[in-house]
Amino acid sequence: MLNINCPYCGDRSQKEFAYGGDGTVKRPELNKEVSDEKWNEFVYLRKSPRGKHIELWHHIAGCRQWFKVQRDTVTHEIFKTAKMNEEIK
């Protein structure tokens, strides 16, 4: 069981959250020409690192906010959680 520290509500059990995938992918800018390659990268390509991973989680059975988590994909240790407008270095 993971314990995730929601930046709004504090430490809660994994069961309250839904996963949102890689938190580092950036959507190509709106209203600009996007090449197929760039769109492919955004929609499909993922690094999926073995080790530290910045990802999105949704506190779906709580405050319903999305936020960022930095987690180790081997040990599941969670290093940091942050609001969407905050950076995780």
Binding site: M1, L2, Q14, K15, Y19, G21, D22, D36, E37, W39, N40, E41, V43, Y44, L45, R46, K47, S48, P49, R50, H53, E55, R71, T73, V74, T75, H76
Partner: protein
């Protein structure tokens, strides 16, 4: 190679079974090979076997970081099927069904292939319609498909909960009677033994740590036991695909996730086929030893842990008990997990790459056991001839950017919910 038969069994009984030949040798890596296969799982072993058998390429090494059978080939729930709707998936896997039917004879190894049938349960009229459509597509590709109604399902699994007031009442289901199970480690050992006998070097405890690439061409691999020269590499590392792709500076439409399974204590025969309860995120079969073999969802977040967390097992078994209430009185013997190469459309990739001599075999998601023979066969062809076979044409790497997805379940790019 010593042939396995009733006579060799009797003969060896006289020496207390202490004088059997080793099933495969334990060679040290040579300086150079024509082809290096990375990963000694089902796909790597089958590829090496078909390279030697079909294409007479025998100067081949399989480089395995652990031991043969230690990866997903020894961790799956052994379901073999070809109940797919899209032509590319259906033809590829039905080609594999034919290889499965003859595998024990061909490999001279009892893989215990048991075509006991699979049923996918349906819980609404809409789902019945969708299954009718899938079944028709399957039949157009020569695959056996039978649409069953509630009463017919009741005859096959009378112990399921058929009450009207359950969350997912059983409306019927789609069956593929020729689907089944096999003994997974026998498949690995069978392919390994035959590949070895034709001259393939199976090198265990040897990890690939890097690649020698120059001018867009493969020149060799770096391993924990020294550098090896080769012009062709077949990458068959399943759940480690992203890790090795990173060393090649390639980003793939793949995420690595964890899938768990569990078995109960053995009980008397009660279930003769495979049943999937998609609405409850649960599937089940009974092993020949009597254990109920069960699985369901991914753990739900990127993972390389090779062991799972409890909430998923609880969730899967909750669904299981909803379908088969008798399961609540069984003790669980063990749970385990394996890391999966989840592709963005749920279908595999067997293709060449932009690097000359680098061939890619990945994206097996949770269904790569059934594809071991068809994948090995087509991947060997792709490597030997340097072009894809028509059976794996659809499994191209560029189908994502071109928009030719094979999204059998229409789930989109959320690999963790599939």
């Amino acid at each position: 190679m010593q042939k396995y038969s009733i006579f060799s069994l009797i003969k060896n009984a006289f020496s207390n079974h202490e004088k059997w030949d080793l099933a495969w040798k334990d060679p040290s890596p040579k300086k150079e090979y024509d082809v290096v296969i990375i990963g000694g799982g089902g796909h790597g072993l089958a590829t090496a076997y078909y390279l030697a058998k079909e294409h007479k390429i025998t100067n081949v090494a399989i480089i395995e970081k652990g031991w043969i059978g230690g990866g997903n080939i020894g961790r799956n729930t052994t379901i073999i099927r070809s109940n797919f709707m899209y032509d590319d998936n259906a033809r590829f896997n039905e080609f594999g069904m034919n290889l499965w039917r003859n595998m024990s004879q061909e490999l001279n190894f009892n893989v215990m292939f048991s075509p006991r049938g699979i049923i996918n349960l349906a819980h609404s009229d809409a789902q019945m319609n969708a299954y009718a459509r899938r079944g028709n597509s399957m039949r157009l590709n020569g695959i056996d498909a039978v649409l069953l109604d509630r009463e017919e399902i009741k005859k096959i699994i009378p112990m399921a909960d058929f009450s009207e007031d359950v969350r997912y009442p059983i409306f019927g289901g789609l069956a593929q009677p020729s689907a089944g199970t096999a003994r997974h480690d026998a498949v690995a050992w069978g392919y390994a033994r035959q590949a070895d006998s034709m001259g393939v070097d199976i090198i265990q405890n040897c990890e690939v740590t890097g690649f020698d690439v120059s001018g867009g061409k493969i020149l060799g691999v770096r391993t924990s036991r020294g550098d090896i020269k080769t012009k062709k590499i077949g990458l068959c590392v399943a759940g480690s695909t992203n890790v090795l792709a990173e060393k090649l500076n390639i980003t793939l439409p793949i995420e690595t996730h964890l899938l768990q399974a569990c078995v109960s204590e053995p009980v008397k025969p009660i279930l003769d086929g495979v049943v999937t309860f998609g609405a409850g995120h649960f599937y089940i079969s009974q092993s020949d030893k009597g254990e109920m073999v069960m699985g369901g969802d991914l753990d739900g977040y990127n993972s390389y842990a090779q062991k799972g967390n409890l909430p998923t097992i609880q969730h899967v078994l909750t669904g299981g008990i909803a379908l088969f209430p008798f399961l609540s009185r069984l003790k669980m013997l063990r749970t385990w997990g394996g890391i999966m190469d989840m592709s963005m459309d749920g279908s595999p990739i067997i293709d060449k790459t932009h690097i000359d001599g680098l061939y890619l075999n990945c994206g097996w998601c949770y269904g790569g056991f059934k594809s071991v023979p068809s994948s090995g066969w087509t991947f060997a062809h792709t490597i030997a001839q340097d072009r894809v076979h028509e059976l794996n044409e659809g499994f191209s790497l560029n189908r994502f950017s071109k928009g030719y997805l094979l999204d059998e379940k229409g789930l989109g790019t959320k690999t963790w919910i599939s």
